[in-house]
Symmetry: C2
Subunit: 285 residues, 2 copies
């Protein structure tokens, strides 16, 4: 049964200042957020605030993207079903591998009690785990620029609530293969990846496909894109420095600030066409 993902509330609308101020009661749709605990073979690996829906994709995609599955395949995904907690039994999802996934370590215990790790340590660990992406034919830049416009009609929850992030996989022609929205930006990506892992939408690795995110590109977004095998990551907002570092090491094309008037390519440092011909004429010294 689909869970409720938005809620209609009566609110007060205020417009104008001082004597010109008008307040009125209006109805507004708000995004629902609920915690969801993800278990791997019965062991808790994460609790996340998420928008209900596509819960299994989220759970499986999370375990995959975070490297928790090792070489194991997902044999099943299910809600915790005690039979007694109707409202909450959909907030615990177990990903099953028949015990073949490595026993997960509690996250909080993985940082030792001595000094911690920095971003580059994190990146090194990521590079130990993930091979650089195989070179693929680059996307047409016009296609990359077109993705936000193509997305605009698909973001139903965003249109209604203004409070969700979106993620999508798209192909070389710019066709959107799967679109997911979630109150958590990481969750939206996990759902896209999960849809390819267990939802029958394409397959992993996502060779040659692109990943769109409606917000910023942090290192976690690059990690998730890299782990799933996307060749390109398109973000509406800014990437972080560590995300660019990771993308360059991954061989992932990272585009940010993708808006109506253009976008920035952050990785690789130079793209073909830059510094020659028409582009070069504007590059200067």
């Amino acid at each position: 049964m689909p869970r409720r993902r938005k809620e209609r509330l009566r609110v007060t609308r205020v417009e104008g200042l001082g004597d010109n101020r008008v307040t009125r009661t209006v109805f507004d749709e708000l995004i629902v957020e609920e915690p969801m605990t993800i278990q791997l073979d019965g062991a808790i690996v994460s609790t996340t605030m998420r928008t209900p829906g596509h819960d299994f994709e989220l759970a499986a995609g999370f375990c995959f993207s975070e490297g928790l599955l090792g070489a194991a395949s997902v044999t099943g995904v299910r809600y915790c079903a005690s039979g007694s907690a109707v409202d909450t039994e959909f907030n615990v999802v177990t990903v099953e591998t028949g015990g073949r996934a490595p026993v997960p370590s509690p996250r909080l215990g993985t940082t030792s009690s001595s000094c911690g790790w920095c971003g580059s340590d994190q990146l090194d660990a990521m590079c130990d785990r993930l091979e650089p992406l195989a070179p693929t034919e680059p996307f047409d830049l016009d296609v990359l620029a077109s993705i936000p416009q193509r997305m605009s009609s698909t973001q139903g929850l965003f249109t209604a609530t203004g409070a969700v992030h979106a993620a999508a996989a798209f192909d070389r022609a710019g066709e959107l293969i799967v679109v997911r929205e979630d109150v958590g930006r990481h969750n939206a990506v996990d759902k896209v990846v999960g849809s390819m892992l267990i939802g029958g939408v394409g397959a992993l690795p996502t060779d040659g496909l692109g990943l769109f995110v409606s917000g910023r590109a942090s290192i976690e977004m690059v990690q998730k894109a890299w782990a799933a095998g996307f060749s390109t990551l398109v973000a509406v907002s800014a990437p972080t420095a560590l995300a660019v570092d990771a993308a360059r090491r991954a061989g992932l094309l990272l585009a940010g600030f993708v808006r109506d008037d253009g976008f920035n390519v952050y990785a690789p440092e130079r793209i073909s066409g830059d510094g020659s011909g028409r582009a070069g004429s504007r590059t200067g010294p």
Copy 2:
């Protein structure tokens, strides 16, 4: 020594489509993100991706907002200093209470292996821990509407990178008392709260003050505002349904979509002036 909070990179700028496309190399400033582990009396309680700077405020504010301190006072905050790991020793911060804070439970272990909790359970737990806010004189609505404009000149990292969230405490006249930016929106709020807890900026509880957040208002933001005693929470973007529920139970005024052309008040359900006088003339049945 202040840590680097932004990084200048050479990137490719792409503008226009097809034959009109121009690519050029430009320099761009990007926000730095680094993981930081927070310890409470030596026990790890969280690892968060954050923008370096105001780390002690972040650590202390987090422990406070999350209720980890109990009745204990913070007796000290320090970096882990092994003397050997120069680059990473600033990524572990220990909040000390001399052992008087409750022994923290690992987060992942607090969700039992039976069925999980839902948002209302979370809210109930919050209400068990936090008293409803004492009524205070409401803010002038013009003041609330003015906060984003007042903030605009203070968000240095945002202006440079476009990739950070901001939070601020403001008084009844709209004066900004403390402004913090962070790659994590929760972190920005924790830093504001931490600045009042240990930074000598005001005091906790923040009776009568308002809290501004540059993004959305999720339940965690309401929880943090409530725990610190703010009377009002102003968000540039949308709140979630659970956040509105929490704010109404807290007695917190929650305003969302605070933009140039007005804003919505989500909690309380009705504000004074709504349904009477000038406002009422537009309210209708």
